[in-house]
């Protein structure tokens, strides 16, 4: 069975940069519940990254992500001075020197990706949804995560993509192909929303309309969490859902604030933050020795 809910896997590295010139080479590896990313930073600048699915064996996923990021760069693992592991599998990154939570890493990563003016970061990941407030250095000042109910997490959108057999990348666009905005589905609970959606489709709703209804339900649900922590501009969205304009636009509409445009893939924010922390930690390490 095709896995529509999976994000495409891919890698990138800066062709015009020669990493041999760099004095500080560090990495961050984010082993998430659904996908894993590895990011390599040279002298505080993004150099390479990879983004692929997480297997049920996290050390393996971490290694694969790292190898793929290194691929074609000529760089080897031992050229990397310091590696930070983050995400669900942060403690199972075999080659990491320190584990830091995805919350701290996302704030730091967003600070680099969107600039130091970012004060509120929304990370909608696979299985949890975080709202993070941070200062000009990207240090967390407050955060909140979804409670024991997983409604409003990326997972729901994945279930939908699967249910409707639509690649997750296309879900957002499709949600706008409706004459008028339908009322949001009443339940953001993944399991119940699924049967609700099936019901709507049985009533003859077009897929686009069902998705629209779900996107606005999700956006709405997340706004409640956002407002509990309080939204201070500038505002940025990281994680997989950050790529889903169906949710992002509706969310922006509700809070009346535009999210900053992403310079890179929003899914790498965590690993990037980890790699940047690694820079500081490496400096301190070298200073000591």
């Amino acid at each position: 069975m095709a896995e529509y809910w999976r994000w495409k896997e891919y890698r990138w590295h800066d062709e015009n940069k020669n990493w041999h010139d760099a004095t500080l080479i560090t990495a961050g590896v984010d082993v998430g519940s659904v996908s894993s990313q590895a990011v390599i930073v040279t002298d505080g600048e993004l150099y390479a990254f990879s983004n692929q699915r997480t297997g049920s064996d996290s050390p393996e996923s971490a290694r694969k992500a790292m190898d793929w990021a290194l691929e074609g760069t000529g760089m080897r693992l031992d050229n990397i001075g310091f590696t930070v592991g983050t995400g669900y599998g942060r403690v199972n990154v075999p080659f990491s020197d320190k584990a830091i939570t995805e919350i701290a890493c996302h704030a730091r990563g967003a600070n680099y990706m969107y600039g130091p003016t970012v004060r509120t970061v929304l990370d909608m990941g696979g299985q949890d949804c975080k709202v993070i407030r941070c200062d000009e250095r990207g240090k967390v000042t407050a955060f909140a995560m979804n409670d024991k109910c997983a409604a409003g997490t990326g997972r729901g959108m994945e279930v939908f993509a699967d249910l409707l057999a639509i690649p997750i990348e296309e879900v957002g666009e499709l949600s706008f192909q409706v004459e008028e905005e339908p009322p949001p589905v009443s339940s953001t609970c993944v399991v119940f929303a699924k049967s609700e959606a099936t019901g709507l489709l049985r009533e003859g709703w077009p897929k686009s309309k069902v998705i629209a209804a779900y996107c606005s339900a999700m956006a709405h649900r997340v706004v409640t969490l956002l407002e509990q922590v309080g939204i201070e501009e500038k505002f940025a969205i990281t994680g997989g859902i950050g790529k889903n304009i169906g949710v992002v636009r509706r969310l922006e509409g509700e809070i009346g604030i535009k999210a900053l445009p992403a310079k890179f893939d929003t899914q790498i924010a965590g690993a990037l933050g980890g790699a940047l922390f690694a820079q500081n930690l490496l400096k301190k390490k070298l200073a000591v020795t």
Binding site: Y88, I100, D128, K139, F143
Partner: protein, 374 residues
């Protein structure tokens, strides 16, 4: 050194059974820490607090609707599973509706030869509460005398009061050792000590504290990492304490009914002993279900945070615990205004260590040093 407390806490049922064997006395299970244990103790009864076991269970569904707190359901499950089959009596001192259900279902489905519902006032801030409770305690005393066939004299009460007060003083002395820059014991160890005191003979428990207090004071404390306070509803989740204290933090003080709230206040002597006991329960650090119209608990919590030099607070609450849910926003605000960041977590019978670890570590990174930054 503190193994004895852990042993009592883990083998609570064995302890109570052995006590019965040894003394031939009656054991009374009580729900909620507003039970006037002094009166029971004076009658030679061993009061043991009924707590849960943190195992998922499927026996309470027919008795308690799922929107009531996991703690009251876990407690009832212990009764339905026959784990407290040695109890001669059960009692509740009126507090929240949740735990009341564990009591009333127990009354019917796990009958014992003596059960008592004590009408503890909720409006402890009213001057009418003290005379009222004194009256209720008189009735309770008579009922206990009838049940045990033993008249409770003022001397019996004085003895019980003194034994309980001493235990309270000793536990506070232990808490003092946590003020040290290098706390002499962890939150986990402390929790085991306090919970043990809720299910053992206070005299014996005090003996044990006296035995170790000296060694405790002289042993090297640990580098606390981040000094944390934990507060909120009933909490005997030792696994959680262990997890947090393995992340570079130490709980240095708490406000729980399974912690400081249980023993903080002493009985102050009065000619009318029942009035003296009543005063203790009316004026003790309140459970939120009784902390109205004013919220007196907030100042107490801020005081603890200041005196124990707390850097952050983890605010926990049994899922669905309305009384705490109704105070927590105000408490978090107050702590925040005093520069103490809070992390809020909702507890169930078992806590998902995975998801909670992320939150706790992120919280510690947030309030911790700036090592990660230039």
């Amino acid at each position: 050194m503190l193994d004895q407390f852990r042993d009592w806490e883990r083998n609570r049922h064995e302890y109570a059974k052995a006590w019965k064997e040894r003394t031939g006395g009656k054991v009374m299970g009580y729900f909620c820490t507003y039970a006037p244990e002094e009166i029971l103790y004076a009658a030679g009864v061993l009061p043991v607090r009924i707590l849960g076991s943190h195992e998922p269970q499927d026996v309470t569904e027919p008795h308690i609707f799922g929107m009531f707190c996991p703690f009251c359901r876990d407690c009832l499950a212990q009764g339905l599973k026959g784990r407290y089959d040695y109890l001669d009596g059960i009692m509740i001192s009126q507090s929240c509706l949740h735990i009341r259900q564990a009591f009333t279902s127990w009354q019917k489905h796990v009958p014992v030869d003596f059960d008592y519902y004590l009408c503890m006032p909720n409006r402890v801030q009213s001057p009418r509460a003290l005379p009222y409770l004194a009256g209720e305690l008189a009735e309770f005393k008579t009922a206990v005398e009838k049940w045990t066939g033993k008249t409770i004299s003022d001397t019996d009460l004085d003895r019980a009061i003194e034994i309980y007060n001493e235990n309270r003083r000793l536990m506070r002395a232990v808490y003092e050792l946590r003020k040290d820059d290098h706390p002499h014991l962890t939150g986990e160890e402390t929790m085991e000590m306090v919970i043990a005191s809720q299910m053992t003979d206070k005299a014996e428990h005090s003996q044990q504290i006296k035995k170790i207090l000296g060694q405790l004071a002289s042993r090297d404390g640990r580098d606390p990492g981040t000094r944390l306070m934990i507060l909120g509803s009933e909490d005997d989740d030792i696994e959680f304490m262990k997890m947090v204290e393995s992340c570079g933090a130490t709980f240095v003080v708490d406000d729980h009914c399974t912690g400081s709230r249980y023993f903080w206040n002493e009985v102050e002597p009065r000619d009318n002993r029942l009035e003296a006991i009543a005063a203790r329960y009316v004026h003790r650090v309140p459970c939120p279900s009784k902390d109205w119209e004013d919220r007196t608990r907030i100042d107490h919590i801020l005081g603890l945070a200041r005196d124990w030099n707390v850097a952050g607070a983890i605010v926990i609450q049994q899922k669905f615990c309305d009384p705490h849910e109704l105070d927590i926003p105000a408490i978090r605000k107050a702590l925040d205004q005093n520069g103490i960041k809070t992390l809020f977590l909702e507890f169930d019978v078992t806590v998902p260590i995975g998801q909670f670890k992320v939150r706790v570590e992120a919280f510690l990174e947030m309030i911790g040093d700036d090592d990660l930054f230039d």
